[in-house]
Amino acid sequence: MTAIDPVTFEVIRHRLLAITDEQGATLAAISGSTHVVEASDYNVGLYLPDGSVAAMGRTILSHSSSMAAITRSVIGDCADDPGINAGDMFIVNDPWKGTVHAQDVGVVAPIFYQGELLAWTGAMCHMVDVGGMTPGSFCIDATDSYQEGLQMPPTKLVDGGKVRTDVWNLVLAHTRMAATVNLDLRALIAANHTAVRAMTALADKYGAETVRAVMSSLIELSEKRLRNRLARLPDARLHSRAFLDNDGGLALSRENATYEVDLVLTKRGDSLHFDYSASSPQAKGYINCAFSGMMAGIAAALLPTLAYDAPWNEGLFKPVEVHCPEGLICNASRPAAVSGGALEAGWLVEMTAIECLSKLAACSDELIAEAQAVPAGGPDKFVLTGAGENGGRQTYVIMDCLATGGAAYAHRDGVWTQGQHNIERQKISNVEAVEMDSPLLYLWRGLVADSGGAGRTRGGMSMGAVYTVHGGRDVTALNSAHGWEVPNSTGIFGGYPGAQNTRTVIHGSDVRARLAAGQIPAVEELSGDRPVMRGRQGLYHLGDDDVLATVPQAGGGWGDPLERSLLALQADLDFGAVTPEAAVRVYHAVLDGEGRVDEAATLARREQLRDERRGWPAERPLPAQPRGARTRLHPLGDRLDVIEADDARWVACHCGVVLAPATEQWRRHAGMSVVHDVHALGHATRLDEGLELRLYACPGCGRLHTADVVRREAAHLDDIRLLDAEV
């Protein structure tokens, strides 16, 4: 920001953000769709002539990288033919041209000022339907992208200020909801008009050069802020692997593969390198995401974790390099099906990135407060159809699955019903609104005790619900979830995973008789058949006497659950966040006759458990303990430190025991215990046969340092490898 005085800079900076607010308001006003107005599944922004994001709206995080990508696609594909001129706008919803999935439709516009390109502006929103084999365009049974609806590469929609009716009609001809899509398109165009007018006025007042210089400076400032932050962190290579249980649309096929999204994040100096190349090959079903979905996941993880105080723009991606060959589940090539990718592979891209960035932040006293366990690992989508008015079928999307508990942080428990990580300001509907709209009656909707992952600080509780059919005819439900046989909301630094997705269906229950008898029954009390449910259940019939109960995944825990203070545990019992049964099973409390934590007995029991852990076998013995004076360099997670002693660097437990030289994996020297019974660790009962949980404890003090979810044959997870471990 050389030439611009700080006052002009600040005035224009604020104005640019205000322009994106006005764009967003214009978009929401005209669209009127609940996806836009309530779920805030849209974004807007102002971009430099090369497509770099200078300012963006504060709505859904996942669109932030898409907008730059589609603008660059337009520049690349349209500059020569059909040309980019004043008054033009271009539509894009091709996942291989920058959008996360085809339902996200973007329109971008160049802003010319006195004949010269001043900037770009753009707007994107999730549209209710863009065609394809399934209403709503989440094509659960798709096996290739050609079954997933209209996918527009960069196409001129407005030509010199005049809408191209032929293109407009082409878009509308492909959707089941033409009237709403029509409004959404108009909303996107109007949002761009708002920005074009406002930017022109701004250039009139301050000059085009000044405006563009402020935009560039904003990007530089954010880049600088992130790079400064990164430079103060130790160099490290971080590794996270998340599992995606089975194939999406192929729920009823014999294939039941468990896929992997695998991230190696390398932080060197002031830059980040994301490498997803060890992820699974692309799958047949709709669970893949294209490059755009991978970038969206990275953005959604990075912004709130390391850039919480910087303007969100392109500058935050300058220190970021991404490597992933095409053809993998998180960088699928055409014609892979990708319509579910935002909620599946793309989701796990975000979760792995959160885990690695958190572990990186946890190598610094300054930033450890920004580190978290893995938040909710993915929704159990719930869509209901039933005979509606006019004889047609009505579709109801029930959003309760979004009200998930947040992950634990070092300084606090996870927040209950925080909601999905990539939505900054989430809302769900009232029970009354759902009951009015759909043929459902709730028997219960509330916080699920024990759902938050156990830990010294605990994951936040998710919201569960129990439904029965009421006043509907011919009702069919559709459920589809990952995180069914795999805990996706893993804990961190010894914390346990949060709840897995759980769903109970009771056919032919006595719910009606019980209501008539003046009872509001709990699920356990009901009679009836309880069929085995699958993660990707797909469609099933729900009759008048049927009951459905759901519990979504919930945030993971932080730190050894045995270190949860007895005061906090008693408060959990008093509040109902933890049941007495789980206090005993997971936290190993001893309760007295009144159900309160017996302090002395609990401490004794915990000491006994630590003793047992001290006896866990380790692959290698502890190294000879350094004798000289120790200097603590930085934390390595929660209760491990990197220290210097005897002219070498070491990993030491807070108890004082040195586990390993910092150049080696400390897990090899820690006691290990393998668990297949996930119920012992939290609110879950199923674990994929190919997976196991490995607990690693300090041989000196018995403190649990990690609970890893890994394949049975896999090597130790090498999650934090310091690159400056040599003295």
Partner: protein
């Protein structure tokens, strides 16, 4: 000044207790209003009110007792309810819900992790669940269930209720909130609980959800119910204390309390409707503006109130204040109609600072009133917007607040030099001008935002400015927002208090009764049931009139909310008087489509989707004061009020000599050109370079901000 010892009852007094000052305005037939300010006394706010009354009595040259005895009508707005909610200092309250739904208030429709975080929602590690107003172990589920058609599915277990009540009473609970699912359709179960409470525990303060917020949406309805019970006893004590103090000082007149929905209520009703008092201060200012706008013929107005810590903006559209159906206060969402006011942290006390990257920022942190701006000399050493005004010569440190509170320019300079000028390599004056420009432009951005968000163009609006700092900055933020006309009313320094005394008595009653028309219907009105609508509106009207003591002068307005099905925006529409017929509904639907397209653009009305009518509301209003204010003194010849001139540094053109006038000396018909400074006892009005000012017949200062841009 025509003083008199005549003790005839003739005064109408409006008061507003803010965080720093207690404002008071006295109206009298055929005389101009008089304005007073006394420091707020947080330990017992009635003391500050009495202090302000004493100032007024002195001004009329009578004793306090004589003055109070001459008050015909006393109207009061206060932050007491808002403070008690924000600080969680209400009455120990319990909530009874339908069994299975005891967590509704905790979950807050999943907004719990970010409500109240403002612009900081992106900082995830700072998220938290707000402090509860009812602890979870005092929320109890009751066996009962009504369904979405209002039918009883499970009968109320009265035995269980009695047991619960005994337990809660033993635990020290003093107030109860009862909020069952679908109670606004079928209130029998809530009513039955109310009856049982009256039998078993008559001293408990109880609020039933169908009485306080009979609308769809159990979270917002429950929150409103709980807040009402939580604040009810606090407000009951507060009002009783203040009234007792006034009565013992000789006051025998009527006593009203501000209702943030759009008027005042009898003080006797306030204890029952405590939730309606939340944020009534800003509402008073908007109402006073609406009355003024009607008088001046301004249909569309942006109200702007700049005080020490915040900048509050409201909208008046087609002569009516914009009302929200659901609003956020104290980390909760309440289903009470409330005059919409949007606030940002920008005020005279907003602190200017330079961040690590060399960017100048102003606010949102504020120096408040303690320690206050550096120039107050109370130990504040960080520069604020007010410090910038002093350095620039906009505020004369000797004559601040009529000379009652001299400021120290040297301290302002020092703070700006240290924290802004030196780090940025600017002169102190340039830095001060920068602070002003940044603050003024932020405020202009908010003016634009609140209008655009509602679907309007700010250029179609007039700006009204009030609050201690509003008139000082309005010339700049109005111009920066591209708006032509600015009005500073003569009551600008006590505008909320003026609003409390000039507002009508007001009562709104509402309910939800959803009617939907099928998709694709050519004539949606045919599918709405006029008989049902008539019955509901008639019932609401009866209740509204009854709540206003069946005063024959009551003016009723009937409002229904319409939306297109599966679309999110809803609009309130006024139902014409008389019977609602299909023809009337057809006209309403047409009006809805027109209004929708006017706001959101041609072609946006999705009539084919069908329409949904959901909330019905009846608002009743009765005039209270009926007073004819007299004209202000002052001369049409500005030269008579000219104090002199002084150099003032304007960001637009640097240092120039500005004429300085004694504001109170300017009378109707006066006009002048900027740059000019008008010094009033409570504020400083600035007319920018190239702008012009005219004083209208009511002594409003009307500034043409187009200036020379």
């Amino acid at each position: 000044m025509g003083t008199t010892t005549d003790t005839a009852v003739r005064f109408f007094v409006g008061t507003d207790v803010g965080g720093t000052f207690t404002d008071l305005v006295v109206l009298e037939d055929n005389r101009p209003p008089r304005l007073f300010k006394a420091p707020t006394t947080p330990h017992d706010r009635s003391e500050g009110v009495v202090n302000a009354l004493a100032l007024a009595a002195a001004s009329y040259d009578v004793s306090l007792r004589e003055f109070c005895a001459a008050i015909a009508y006393f109207s009061h707005g206060t932050t007491a309810a808002t403070n008690a909610l924000i600080e969680r200092k209400g009455t120990p309250t319990a909530l009874l819900t339908t069994r299975g739904f005891t967590d509704t208030l905790l979950i807050q429709r999943s907004m719990t992790s970010w409500v109240g975080m403002g612009a900081a929602t992106g900082h995830y590690s700072r998220r938290r669940n707000p402090g509860p107003i009812v602890p979870r172990d005092r929320i109890a589920g009751v066996t009962e269930r009504i369904d979405s058609s209002g039918r009883e599915l499970v009968a109320l277990d009265e035995h269980e209720v009695r047991g619960l009540l005994r337990r809660l009473r033993d635990e020290g609970v003093r107030a109860l909130a009862v909020s069952f699912l679908w109670s606004f359709l079928n209130a029998e179960h809530e009513t039955a609980v109310g009856r049982i409470v009256a039998e078993e525990w008559p001293e408990a303060y109880v609020t039933l959800s169908h009485e306080v917020a009979p609308v769809l949406g159990e979270y917002e309805r429950s929150a409103t119910t709980v807040v009402n019970s939580y604040l009810g006893p606090v407000i009951r004590d507060y009002v009783a204390g203040l009234e007792g103090r006034l009565r013992s000082t000789g006051f025998t007149g009527d006593f009203s309390i501000m209702d943030s929905g759009g008027g005042v209520m009898r003080a006797a009703d306030a204890a029952r409707r405590a939730a309606s008092m939340l944020t009534s201060g800003p509402a008073g200012g908007v109402l006073a503006s609406a009355a003024l706008a009607r008088r001046l013929g301004h249909r569309n107005v942006i109200t702007s109130d700049m005080g020490g810590t915040s900048f509050d903006v409201g909208l008046i559209v087609d002569s009516e204040p914009l009302v929200e159906r659901v609003s956020e206060v104290g980390d909760l969402h309440l289903a009470l109609p409330r005059i919409k006011v949007t606030a940002i942290g920008a005020g005279g006390g907003s602190i200017a600072w330079v961040d690590e990257a060399g960017v100048l920022a102003v606010g949102p942190e504020s120096a408040g009133s303690v320690p206050g701006p550096a120039c107050y000399g109370r130990g504040g050493d960080r520069p604020t917007v007010t410090d910038a005004d002093v350095v620039l010569g906009v505020i004369d440190p000797e004559r601040f607040l009529g000379g009652r509170m001299p400021l120290e320019r040297a301290l302002a300079e020092k703070a700006i030099r240290l924290h802004v000028a030196d780090p940025l390599g600017l002169s102190v004056e340039e830095a001060a001008a920068g602070i002003r420009q940044v603050a003024d432009n932020h405020m202009a951005d908010l003016l634009r935002k609140v209008t655009v968000e509602q679907g309007y163009d700010p250029r179609d609006f007039t700006v009204y400015a009030y609050g201690g700092a509003g008139p000082t900055h309005a010339y700049a933020y109005t111009e920066a927002a591209g708006i032509a006309t600015l009005v500073v009313p003569p009551t600008s320094t006590v505008h909320s208090a003026y609003g409390t005394v000039t507002s009508d008595r007001y009562r709104a009653v509402q309910t939800t009764d959803v009617q939907r028309t099928p998709p694709g219907a050519a004539d949606p009105a045919e599918h709405l049931d006029p008989a049902r609508i008539n019955a509901t509106l008639d019932d609401l009207s009866l209740r509204c009139r009854a709540d206003l003591d069946d005063d024959p002068r009551v003016r009723l307005s009937r409002i229904v909310y319409l939306k297109f099905r599966r679309q999110a925006h809803e609009l309130p529409l006024t139902v014409p008087d008389g019977e609602v017929t299909t023809d009337v509904l057809r006209a309403l639907v047409a009006e809805f489509c027109d209004a929708y397209e006017r706001l959101y653009g041609a072609g946006t009305a999705l009539l084919g989707a069908g329409v949904e009518l959901h909330t019905l509301r009846v608002e009743g209003r009765v005039g209270v004061t009926g007073i004819t204010e007299g004209g202000y003194e002052g001369s049409a010849e500005p030269a008579e009020s000219l104090i002199g001139s002084r150099p003032v540094y304007f960001p637009e053109c640097g240092r120039v000599d500005a004429s300085v006038y004694r504001g109170e000396g300017l009378g109707a018909g006066a006009s002048l050109r900027g740059p000019a400074i008008l010094e009033f006892a409570g504020t400083t009005v600035v007319v920018g370079p190239g702008q012009s000012l005219a004083v209208d017949p009511y002594n409003n200062l009307v500034i043409d901000c187009r200036g020379n841009v």
